[in-house]
């Protein structure tokens, strides 16, 4: 439990990180450093996009899988690291 918090703290304290959200397999956020409404919005939208990205990669090559997803916008960048499911 403490290790979970430490790991999250390390990531959050990294240079340039604005917020961190951890989402479970159903798309429900379980840890966040942002406010509630933003968290819910990001979790919902990114869950769908990540699923779509993963299915795209696997459709092209079934042996392949998504390892990382980065969305770069004018104002910032969203980085999504999917788990193994």
């Amino acid at each position: 439990m403490a290790e979970v918090e430490e790991t999250l703290k390390r990531i959050q304290a990294h240079k340039g990180v604005i917020g961190t959200i951890v989402v479970n397999a159903e798309g429900i956020p379980i840890r966040t450093t942002l406010d509630n409404s933003t968290t819910v919005q990001y979790a919902g939208l990114l869950h769908q996009l990540t699923m779509k990205a993963r299915s795209t990669v696997r459709d092209i090559d079934p042996q392949n899988d998504l390892t990382f997803l980065r969305i770069r916008s004018k104002k910032h960048e969203i980085m999504v690291a999917p788990g193994n499911l």
Partner: protein, 504 residues
């Protein structure tokens, strides 16, 4: 021949039913017996059960993270351990990467030039040689209102003036015929549309009165006025604004600023009267002593306020520009009373907290940045624009934009590094700190060099539109090129860097 005879009578059988009845047979029918069963039912056992919701122990949260998803900590830990390295590696790569430097993507068609969309004017006002004194866009961004009056006149005048509105989205837009013209008995110096109700507009007059019109009423648009009481300003009102009440967000109060040194807050009453609720007064002796006033003024002399701008980040902080060339940082949450002056029904407070270094002439315009809590611009009659941080008295950047006066500066509502300035040489200059900090990015020539441009306003809902009014009574709507509409990458970082150049 004839004999007597007896004929037997003829018999007709009777048709009467009775007789026929003897030939009838009696038959009877009956329904079958309906089978019925008698059964009795009664509940013989009962149980009482009660239900009640319990007080939930944890605080109410929209997202109840602990309860919603039973967290499998072992799984979470293994996931995080696997993913942490990847994420840190990517973050590091990102920080030092130059891959996207200067990479810009545009999703919409680019418009490269600045063009004039409309030239709006009111012929009667132009006949009287009135000048455009103030512009305001309404809450929906489709109606622009302008007020006419005189800014180069030092005298009291009883000249009638006008407030005109045009709806730019209407098809039958006639640039010479406004949709609504309101006759006003005195020059209107400033206008402000309501931030959420599209038809209410305040005007501040040269006589010191403040009037509110409802542009949806055709017969008599005037709905509230201050009248000429002891509370009203004794000098022209140079700026008016709507203040959102912190307690009831639907309730708005009206703020008016005048060169008699008073900043007054009014409330609308039912009988069409505006009553004074709160007020601030600026007297020379209560201005913070970080700057010495050059002239020996009597301590109680009022100091004229010519412009005001509220901070977008902290609703109680505002910056005012004064006739003496100073800008002051003030707060609505002060308690010190102003040095008492007669004739006010509400006690006036002294709001000044910090004085910034002065311009060489009266400050006609101040504008707080909508993107950074500490930055604001001030423009004065010395032709200079100062970019100030609220943390220090000296300006961060001082630019000379004009050899004549500067009448208005406004930050762009979409690009954090861009602002527009209206000069006395008939030009509207758009400055981009990201491109060059010495000369303007675009210089729009509105009128000849003798006709100053008095006021400019960006349209918040349609950020490509900029309205500018000049001394010839002409209101021009300019369409800006695309690089003024979209925020570039890393612009906020640049702004933060500018703001952090505060010297200790």
């Amino acid at each position: 021949m004839f004999g007597d005879g007896v004929a037997r009578g003829a018999d007709v059988e009777s048709l009467w039913r009775r007789d026929q009845g003897t030939r009838c047979e009696a038959k009877s029918c009956q329904t079958e017996e309906i089978s019925t069963v008698e059964v009795a039912v009664q509940s013989h056992s009962s149980r009482d059960a009660g239900m009640q919701t319990d007080q939930s122990e944890e605080s109410i949260q929209d997202l109840d993270l602990q309860k919603e998803a039973p967290v499998d900590y072992a799984g979470l830990l293994s996931f995080l351990q696997g993913v942490e390295d990847v994420v840190i590696k990517e973050l590091n790569k990102n920080w030092i990467s130059h891959a996207f430097d200067g990479f810009e993507v545009n999703w919409v068609d680019q418009n490269e030039t600045v063009s004039c969309l409309h030239n709006l004017s009111y012929p009667e006002a132009q006949d009287q040689k009135l000048q455009v004194t103030s512009i305001s866009w309404n809450a929906t961004g489709s109606v622009v209102a302008c007020s006419y009056g005189r800014l180069d006149d030092g005298d009291w005048s009883t000249e009638k003036s006008y407030v005109c509105t045009w709806n730019l989205d209407r098809r039958g837009l006639n640039p010479k015929c406004p949709d609504l013209v309101v006759d006003v008995p005195s020059s209107v110096m400033c206008l402000a549309f309501h931030p959420s109700q599209p038809s209410l507009i305040i005007g501040g007059l040269y006589s010191g009165e403040v009037l509110i019109w409802d542009t949806s009423r055709i017969e008599d648009p005037l709905i509230w006025r201050t009248g000429m009481t002891d509370d009203t300003h004794t000098d022209p009102v140079y700026q008016v604004d709507w203040l959102q009440d912190s307690k009831h967000s639907h309730h708005f109060q009206i703020l008016s600023v005048s060169t008699d040194g008073k900043i007054l807050v009014w409330q609308t009453e039912r009988d069409g009267q505006l009553t004074l609720v709160e007020g601030f007064a600026l007297v020379a002796q209560q201005i913070p002593r970080s700057m010495k006033l050059k002239k020996r003024t009597r301590g109680e002399t009022a100091v004229g306020v010519t412009s005001l701008s509220f901070s977008h980040f902290d609703p109680s902080v505002f910056i005012i520009g004064m006739e003496g060339g100073y800008s002051l940082k003030c707060s609505t949450a002060v308690e010190t009373a102003a040095v008492p002056r007669t004739g006010s029904s509400v006690p006036l407070k002294a709001p000044a907290q910090f004085a910034f270094s002065p311009h060489g002439g009266p400050v006609y315009c101040v504008s707080c940045s909508p993107f950074h809590r500490n930055l604001f611009l001030s423009g004065g009659t010395d032709g200079h624009v100062h970019l100030h941080s609220m943390l220090q008295a000296q300006p961060l950047i001082s630019l000379q934009l004009s050899k004549k006066y500067l009448f208005s500066v406004r930050w762009s509502p979409v690009r954090p590094l861009v602002f527009a300035a209206a000069t006395g040489e008939g030009e509207v200059q758009l400055f981009d700190f990201g491109k060059s900090s010495q000369k303007p990015a675009v210089s729009i020539k509105q009128a000849s060099a003798q006709t100053p441009v008095y006021c400019i306003e960006f349209n918040i809902k349609q950020p490509q539109l900029l309205a500018a009014g000049d001394a010839s009574g002409l209101l021009k709507i300019w369409q800006l090129s695309s690089d003024f509409i979209q925020q570039g990458p890393r612009e906020m970082n640049h702004l933060e860097q500018l703001a952090n150049e505060v010297t200790d």
